[in-house]
Amino acid sequence: MHLPIVFTVLIVLYRLYCALPRRRNAVQHSNTKSLAVFLGSGGHTSEALTLLSALDFERYCPRTYVISEGDSLSAQRARDLESSKASSTKYTILTIPRARRVHQSLATTPPTALHSLLSCIYHVTLARKPFADILILNGPGTCFVLCIAVCVNRFLGLSAPKTIYIESFARVESLSLSGKLLYPFVDRFVVQWRQLLKKAKGAEFRGLLV
């Protein structure tokens, strides 16, 4: 009988805690921002690293490259980009389990995806605080669970990165599956072909980015 009252009081107290000013975080006028980018293998990795190469690494540090389990090629390409930039600032490579393998049937995906989600929540919420100031996503499926982990953080009132999704250059007429999934959840949704603006309201088009 008292349960609803206790519950309500707890929620009010929790939201009050969330609403307290955070002086620790007030020092936000730093000249650097931490950045995380998901490297989804193959063409996704190529595009993400090409985009990243355009950024000022002295400004965006430390950098975290999030790769799927077993994707050593993406890890190597991230290291190659880092050595070509010759920045003195730090980076790390973080490995998470895949949400769905290529050609895996849709029916067996949920348990695989859940495992991946729990791992992402662990990394985004617990393992490092804060995870990053900005998170760049461009597919495929596994980046969705990363985005959901960010949303969980937001829901709990914890620090969470801003999210930017860049739809692949390869998407001309239709959004990718990851694009459709991430569309409601990301802060910025960017497409590279004008035709796609019709498919995603609120999306941004700035010409080709890669």
């Binding site: 595009e47 355009a54 950024l55 050609h103 250059f169 001309v172 599956l177 700035r206 980015l209």
Partner: protein, 158 residues
């Protein structure tokens, strides 16, 4: 002259088999190609057919970096993955992928004269009539748009 064939991270049996078929090998040699490098990923094909007089055929499942192959190739034959389209390219869309969006991209870029498309069945003919000089060139990579986007989101002065 070098022809580089790439299937990307996955498999594309039909493309690899087509490239190694008599008509396509004949067409390549007739156009003066002396080297054929095939990055075949997980594709399955009969490896006994890969020797041919006058054409040096090299097979790779994966390569640490394809950059050099793309740079050196006089002709690239590949799936329409975004990493490959800056080159003298014949795109053969892979019909077996989950959603065949590659075809949309290849069609858009073929329409703007940046590349050629071909079906598996037409590949020999496509090789024969391919003329890289007739293709439009791509703008060089310009990172400023993306840089502006991220800097703006993070509150840096542009």
């Amino acid at each position: 002259m070098l022809c580089f064939v790439t299937v990307g991270t996955f498999s594309f049996d039909l493309l690899v088999r087509a490239v190694l078929s008599e008509p396509v090998l004949d067409a390549l040699q007739a156009r003066g190609y002396t080297r054929l490098v095939i990055q075949y990923g997980d594709s399955e094909f009969d490896t006994s057919v890969v020797t041919r007089t006058g054409l040096d055929i090299e097979l790779w499942a994966r390569k640490p970096s394809l950059d050099q192959d793309f740079r050196r190739a006089d002709l690239v034959i590949g799936h329409a993955g975004a990493g490959t389209i800056l080159d003298p390219l014949i795109v053969v869309p892979n019909e077996s992928l989950l959603h065949n969006h590659q075809l949309e991209l290849a069609t858009a870029l073929a329409a703007s004269n940046h590349l050629r498309t071909s079906t598996i069945a037409d590949l020999a003919h496509s090789v024969t009539v391919f003329d890289p000089a007739a293709l439009a060139t791509f703008e060089p990579f310009d990172g400023s748009r993306f840089r502006a986007l991220v800097d703006e989101e993070m509150g840096f002065q542009l």
